[in-house]
């Protein structure tokens, strides 16, 4: 008691986790030696694999494909029951039958990012050169690397132009990277609660999370997999800290206030007296059941390095010069991780490029997480944007 040891241990074994890493319960695209993934760090990653899910049917024109990009701790299971947690798809408010992104109208693709741990090649995968888990020997990856890999998957699926690329948070970064790197392949882009670069404050929070992981003695310099253990305490603390940044003061107050957890009076101990403590511990412990600690280090690093303007001579508008893509940018008033000012900077750059852009700031007290929640105004806007783009694309019903 008194430290995070009171976080329950994960319910599944390390073996179960590693099974999803190498043999995901989803579709997998394998890329052999003839198709290496050229990484920004200069390494050619080969062979590698991308785990992905699809929903709906690709139409005859191949014009109705929607790529969903997941956030830091998401995966390809956007609209189906998760194979590890048994929970519904992580974006069921937006994606699914009757939702704004309905498999009845669109061919929906969602892939696990490179560096992830749900079946796409990452630090938890087996390095074929050594037969051991990659660990920290895995090359550092970037958001552009993730998008380059997705483009290879889209090629493999025989799709030239995506009708829409959609994502929030780190997923939104991928959306923006798609439009900057492959403007002609993206008909419309829905970028939610994101930014064109990671702020100093966000890098600081990520560093906090990484240090928590690395401070766990079970981390073993990243080599925990060989020992059959997982630094779940460090990773849980990282998740707890991060989770606070996804909420807001108002949301925490509304949800928990200073209410006690299953007790009337303080215990005068470091037990989880407050509901908010209990909630955070639960968030931490449930996260480590499905996520790899090294993967968390790599993906947070990729977000830290993200800066579209820096890749275009420091001028953001240059990244979107003469772009034909239709943009919809959405931010949330209480999101202090990716505040509206970041979206506004993006919109200014898009205006300077004469891009077609809609920008809505949604009023909510639910913080950064709002993009994953049932926020009707956001969902209505997403639906209308895609319908309008679908009309321009000549899609039926969209």
């Amino acid at each position: 008691m008194g430290d995070v040891k009171s976080i329950p241990s994960p319910a599944i074994s390390a073996d179960e986790r590693s099974h999803e890493v190498d043999h995901p319960s989803s579709q997998v695209a394998h890329f052999g030696a003839e198709q290496p993934l050229r990484l920004d760090c200069g390494v050619d990653l080969t062979p590698f694999q991308i785990a992905y899910q699809t929903y709906g049917e690709l139409n005859a024109d191949r014009s109705n494909a929607v790529l969903i990009c997941h956030a830091l701790t998401g995966d390809q299971h956007v609209a189906n029951v998760h194979p590890v947690t048994g929970k519904p798809g992580w974006w069921e408010t937006l994606v699914g039958p009757g939702r704004p992104i309905d498999p009845k109208h669109y061919f929906i693709i969602c892939s696990n990012v490179i560096g992830g741990c749900m079946g796409s090649t990452g630090p938890a995968s087996i390095n074929p050169a050594t037969g051991k888990v990659w660990g920290l020997a895995f090359p550092v990856i970037t958001i552009p690397d993730m998008v380059r890999a997705q483009a290879m998957l889209i090629d493999r699926l025989g799709i030239d132009t995506l009708f829409a690329v959609v994502g929030g948070s780190m997923g939104g970064m991928q959306v923006l990277q798609w439009t900057a790197a492959y403007p002609a392949r993206v008909f419309s882009a829905l970028a939610i609660a994101c930014a064109t670069r990671h702020s100093a404050q966000n890098i600081a929070f990520h560093e906090l999370g990484r240090q928590a992981v690395m401070a766990d003695p079970d981390w073993h310099g990243g080599g925990y997999a060989d020992r059959g253990i997982h630094p779940h305490r460090g990773l849980a603390v990282a998740r707890m800290a991060a989770h606070i940044t996804y909420l807001s003061d108002a949301a925490l107050h509304r949800k928990f206030g200073r209410r006690m957890q299953d007790r009337e009076l303080p215990t005068f101990s470091f037990d989880a007296d407050f509901q908010v403590e209990s909630y955070l511990r639960y968030q931490g412990s449930s996260f480590v059941e499905r996520f790899d600690a090294n993967s968390y280090l790599y993906l947070t690093r990729a977000m830290d390095y993200f800066d579209i303007a820096a890749d275009h001579g420091g001028v953001l508008a240059k990244a979107f010069a003469d772009i034909k893509t239709r943009f919809c940018v959405v931010s949330f008033t209480s999101d202090w991780l990716f505040p509206t000012s970041e979206s506004r900077a993006l919109v200014h750059a898009l205006n300077a490029s004469s891009a077609r852009v809609s920008f809505a700031e949604i009023e909510t007290d639910r913080g950064h997480d709002a993009f994953l929640l049932d926020v009707p105004e956001f969902l209505d806007i997403s639906r209308a944007f895609l319908q309008s783009a679908g009309k321009a694309r000549g899609l039926k019903d969209g």
Binding site: R326, N351, S354, S358, A360, D380, I381, A384, S388
Partner: protein, 220 residues
């Protein structure tokens, strides 16, 4: 001109879909089909929707979040922004037309805004309530009050309209900053255009609002 219907000018579009405000119809008629248009202060997007029906690529800026979100929920390309501060982000000649409908009087720097409109757009269409309208004059002269009308009902202390002008004032501003008036229409209280052959002072007296199609003067 087909704007003979009796419609409330400063009000909102009538309930039935397909019905558009008289001044919006007049503005839309000034825009060549197929052009690219920016509507500054686009409200809830009524004018943009009208332009869309005419095959025009319309974009909008709107100050109020509610207005923006309603526009975006209609599938319109509208961003939240301020005419005074955000027009600088747009490059020269980005649009064929930039429209400022019933918004000039609410800007902090009408002259700078007007200059920006004609930098961003090859043409600008500006409409505004005419403070020289006889009812306005009468309220100040006889009543001794700052004028209020059905279309501008706010009191002096809570109005967003901080830079009222008359048609005559506006014409002088256009001359001063070398803006060419390609077309000018004054609409009376009922949204009807005042006959062209009447002298300026009649427009300034009986025009409830002015609608101007502007382009850059030759001297620039």
């Amino acid at each position: 001109m087909s704007v003979q219907e009796v419609l409330p000018l400063g009000g909102v579009a009538t309930g039935q879909s397909g019905d558009f405000r008289a001044d919006h119809r007049l503005v839309a008629e000034m825009v060549k089909p197929g052009s690219k248009v920016l509507d500054v202060g686009c409200g809830e997007g009524d004018l943009l929707q009208l332009l869309e029906t005419r095959g025009i690529d319309g974009r909008g800026i709107e100050l109020s979040r509610e207005g923006v979100n309603r526009c975006v929920a209609k599938g319109l390309a509208v961003v939240q922004g301020d005419a005074d501060t955000d027009l600088v982000n747009y490059p020269d000649d980005a649009f064929d037309y930039v429209i400022l409908s019933q918004t000039l009087q609410a800007t902090r720097q009408p002259r700078v805004v007007l200059e920006n409109l004609l930098r961003i757009g090859r043409r600008a269409i500006v409409s505004f309530p005419n403070f020289g309208f006889w009812k306005m004059r009468l309220q100040l002269l006889i009543g001794g009050h700052m004028p209020r009308t059905e279309n501008l009902p706010a009191t002096w202390y809570d109005t967003a309209n901080i830079h009222f002008c008359t048609i005559k004032d506006f014409v002088e501003l256009c001359d001063a900053i070398n803006v060419k008036m390609e077309r000018s229409v004054a609409l009376d209280l009922y949204g009807r255009p005042i006959p062209l052959n009447l002298p300026w002072w009649v427009w300034n007296m009986f025009g409830e609002q002015g609608v101007f199609l502007l382009s850059r003067g030759g001297g620039k």
